[in-house]
Amino acid sequence: MTMRSAMTLSRSIGFADLVGTRTRTRSATDSVNAKIEVRNFSFFYGNFKAINTVSMDIPANHVTAIIGPSGCGKSTLLRAINRMHDATIGAHAEGEMRFDGVNVYDPAVDSVLLRRRVGMVFQRPNPFQLTIFDNVAYGLRVNGMRDKKLIAQKVEESLKRAALWDEVKDRLFKSLGTALSGGQQQRLCIARAIASDPEVILMDEPCSALDPIASLKIEDLIDDLRDQFTIVIVTHNMQQAARVSDMTAFMLMNRATRAGELIEFDQTDKMFTAPSDQRTEDYISGQFG
């Protein structure tokens, strides 16, 4: 047996175990309403089509993972949900991205208001050069909250939910957010994102800059948050996708057009145990670019 196939085997066994042992609070089958409906959605950077006619329903109050090889358009799709591309020259969309039934690319939709309902956590932790408290309070203040007591209460609550409270509670006003460790910074960013009670949280490889222990903490956190928020997470770590998500989308770049396409979208258990597309199986079992 070659090294490679041995690894493949052990990995796929690992996945089966993980998927099998994980307890789900809710199954995605009792199909709840779709929070985000992606319909024939294509995205362009200038003339370059980065993703091609993607359609999928992202269920409310579940964790949806997007996986796929580098450059297949995962980040592009994720950031299209809250129109983070607005600042990029030449970036534009075709098709529909419906959030609670409203196409977010409708000219009448205000991107600033949209982003208050669809929060984001980035690949690299990006706390502001403000105190820990001000970092978490930022979104609240943006939303016009002025009541100091309420803000303090919200900040504490969010830091507790982000499992960071005990580590920072006695230096909330003393330390800058940028002075924390990478893992702490990322949990701070999550606290910041959830403080203003968004409905959806988008996470673009939130653990890729973290060590395995810090990553596990974030995963636990996502597990805690799934009841209250709709979470969409891009990850390169298949075990992570299997552990945290209810639904998984697999994307792949079309060799001919270089545009990213959605290959398969299904419940995570099914994707990792019995995918219906050969390419999904190849990718998940590690036999793919």
Binding site: N82, M84, A87, I89, V112, L113, L114, R115, R116, R117, G119, M120, F122, R124, N126, P127, F128, Q129, L130, T131, Y138, G139, R141, V142, N143, F173, K174, S175, L176, A179, C189, R192, A193, S196
Partner: protein, 328 residues
């Protein structure tokens, strides 16, 4: 250890390159040190308590200081007290000959110039700051707009143009119309010179703030103006302050535009709508003076100007560092 065969040659090239950079740096630094040293040594001899507390004194005061006599000043015969013979003969009253008067040491001070420079430059900065900072924000945070390229280009042209141009423009627009040289006209001329400096440094410093900060704020639903003032500017503040200090130094040292706008004065004046003294103007006028004592005052004025910029720089830096450090 095996050395590559061209190792010595590489080492030689490295040393030549290193030597050239050190030499070039020396060439750049030597004039600077020479100027500072020259101003220090010549200016220091003008320094006295009187220099900082007194204003301009006419040369007959110099005469009085030289020989202990009481200076007399007759407006109808202004030369009477200073021993200049009005008929070409030697003074009959036994006052010192002309040469002695010219040799008189420095008398009087530049307090009026210090006050004037602070007022004119400070006011110019006050005008330039909001315009420059907002323009810098526009160029950096709204950089996708095509209009920004034009503004940036104009800024560069403006900061490269000779300062007398600013003086002429204000002379025509303000001085001629108001029929009066005035401090405020000088401030406006300095404002024109300071705006491009503040604008461009603000822009460059804001651009140094990582894009991820803007994304984070955008992701929280913050409008651009909000994140700019709460996150981006605080992060760029030390750099912006440097730009502001550069602008202050540039404005404080300008002479040409002030000749055309504030004219100069021999007394302390705080009237913004009247001529006012300023340190560079005093340095300029005193340099031209036939009295060696006044030439010394010119060096003193230059020295004080340098110190003023230095002290302002240190004060502002300490103040901003303390603010930034408070939350650490």
């Amino acid at each position: 250890m095996n050395t590559p065969k061209n190792y010595r040659w590489r080492k030689f090239v490295d040393q030549v390159m290193r030597g050239s950079t050190v030499f070039a740096t020396g060439c750049a630094v030597i004039p600077l040190i020479a100027i500072i040293g020259y101003v220090l040594t010549l200016g220091a001899s003008a320094l006295s308590v009187q220099f900082f507390t007194d204003v301009y004194q006419p040369p007959n005061m110099a005469q009085a200081a030289a020989d202990g006599s009481t200076p007399a000043f007759d407006p109808n015969d202004p030369f009477a007290g200073i021993g200049v013979p009005t008929d070409g003969t030697a003074p009959a009253d036994g006052t010192a000959p002309v040469a002695d008067v010219y040799a008189g040491g420095p008398v009087g001070g530049v307090l009026h110039g210090i006050i004037g420079t602070l007022i004119i430059t400070g006011m110019g900065l006050l005008f330039a700051l909001p315009i420059g900072i907002f323009a810098g924000i526009y160029l950096s945070e709204y950089r996708n707009e095509r209009y920004a390229t034009i503004v940036r280009f104009c800024c560069d042209v403006l900061s490269g143009s000779p300062s007398i141009v600013a003086g002429v423009v204000i002379y025509i627009l303000v001085v001629i119309r108001s029929h009066e040289f005035s401090a405020i006209a000088g401030s406006l001329a300095l404002m024109i010179l300071m705006i491009p400096i503040v604008t461009r440094t603000t822009e460059e410093m804001l651009k140094l703030v990582p894009e991820s900060m803007r994304e984070a704020a955008r992701g929280l639903g913050a409008p651009t103006w909000y994140s700019t003032f709460t996150v981006i500017i605080p992060a760029a503040l030390p750099g912006i302050v440097t730009g502001v200090m550069l602008a202050f130094a540039r404005g404080a040292g300008e002479t040409a535009p002030l000749i055309l706008t504030v004219l100069g004065s021999n007394v302390i004046s705080t009237n913004l709508f009247a001529p006012m003294a300023s340190l560079p103007l005093l340095a300029y006028r005193y340099t031209e003076s036939p009295y060696p004592g006044e030439n010394t005052l010119a060096w003193g004025a230059a020295f004080v100007l340098m110190m003023l910029v230095l002290v302002m720089n240190i004060l502002v830096r300490v103040a901003t560092r303390r603010r930034a450090g408070a939350s650490r």
